[in-house]
């Protein structure tokens, strides 16, 4: 049901508002990073779908969990099978908006500070987040950057005691998306 809702939201974001300019990408990059005295763990997903409405500030992301690539095969296996249960919950999503979108002049190149607010869903848990980021306008391209932390416990991710010292309770998320203007 959540899948259908998100798809409809994505479509609505793209279709509605004839005058509103949309920016999209299918190659958004999300990296997560866990650091503990025992070890550092990071994973990258470079095929993230994202769409931004320049008028309303509406912003959606959708990332396939199995597209997160780890250096070590065992870590990836544990991530998919035990921690995020990718077969049961294949996607993570964000739907929200850039609350100060009016401060961004899409006709003028430059870097703008933005505040992003919305619902982040990982596994079966949805949490409201409010984070800082930047939008850099360069002609028809817009690069969006944001770095923030999430608590694994907030998203029902259970880490077994045996590896509790290897995985941080707070994970850093780096988001880097290069949006392109959609043809009207």
């Amino acid at each position: 049901m959540k899948q259908i809702f998100l798809s409809l939201l994505l479509l609505t974001l793209i279709v509605t508002g004839v005058q509103a300019q949309k920016y999209v990408t299918k190659t958004g990059h999300i990296r997560f990073f866990s650091t503990t005295p025992m070890e550092d763990i990071e994973a990258h997903n470079r095929q993230v779908n994202a769409a931004l409405d320049a008028q309303s500030g509406d912003l959606v992301f959708k990332a396939m969990m199995k597209s997160f690539q780890f250096e070590k095969a065992l870590m990836q296996e544990h991530f998919n099978e035990n921690y995020v249960e990718s077969d049961k919950f294949p996607n993570s999503t964000f739907k929200g908006k850039i609350v100060n979108i009016k401060d961004v002049d899409f006709t003028k190149n430059g870097k703008y500070d933005v505040t992003i607010e919305g619902d982040l869903t990982i596994k079966d848990a949805t949490r409201k987040i409010k984070e800082k980021g930047t939008l850099e306008i360069n002609g028809d391209s817009v690069e969006g950057l944001s770095t923030f932390n999430i608590l694994v416990a907030d998203y029902n991710i259970k880490i077994p005691n045996a590896v509790a010292n290897n995985i941080a309770k707070s994970i850093r998320i780096d988001v880097d998306v290069n949006f392109e203007k959609m043809a009207k």
Binding site: I14, K26, T27, Q47, A51, K62, M64, K66
Partner: protein
């Protein structure tokens, strides 16, 4: 008698250390498999795969997600960024632009697919991570000769 015990305990300690080293190397520290050498679980046409995901995403996800697929189709385009080369089979035109199958290439196979002319009939092998409502996503891809 005492010597025997020392010998047994010493042997067990050595076996334990060797076992720990082997577990570290072959289990804990195991690198990602080389998907270019993997035997595909399924060999199929790109359009057929896309329609399966489009028409029944749950059944297709259960069948294909996490599997190695060899997919035949006409190359539509190749997108390159600093760290990524993605080949595209465009199956239909959607609200999000072209929709179909997107193949992220293993770096050593990237130049080969980048120099393949559009519309060429190719078979690409890789690891299927699922369908995101617009495209079937493939990782660790290589061109099948």
């Amino acid at each position: 008698m005492k010597k025997n015990w020392i010998l047994i305990l010493g042997s067990l300690a050595i076996i334990g250390v060797i076992a720990a080293i082997l577990i570290y190397i072959f289990v804990y520290n195991k690198q990602q498999p080389d998907y270019s050498k993997a035997n595909p679980d399924y060999t199929l046409n790109g359009e057929e795969l896309f329609r399966e995901f489009r028409n029944n995403p749950d059944a297709a996800a259960e069948k294909y997600n996490g599997k190695v697929l060899a997919i035949e189709g006409n190359l539509y385009s190749v997108e390159s960024t600093d760290s990524l080369t993605i080949a595209v089979f465009a199956i239909e035109e959607g609200m999000f632009g072209d929709e179909g199958i997107r193949f992220a290439f293993i770096p050593e196979f990237a130049s080969k697919i980048a120099s393949t002319p559009p519309e060429s009939l190719v078979t690409i092998k890789g690891y299927c991570t699922g369908f995101n409502d617009t495209d079937v996503i493939m990782e660790h891809c290589s061109l099948v000769e």
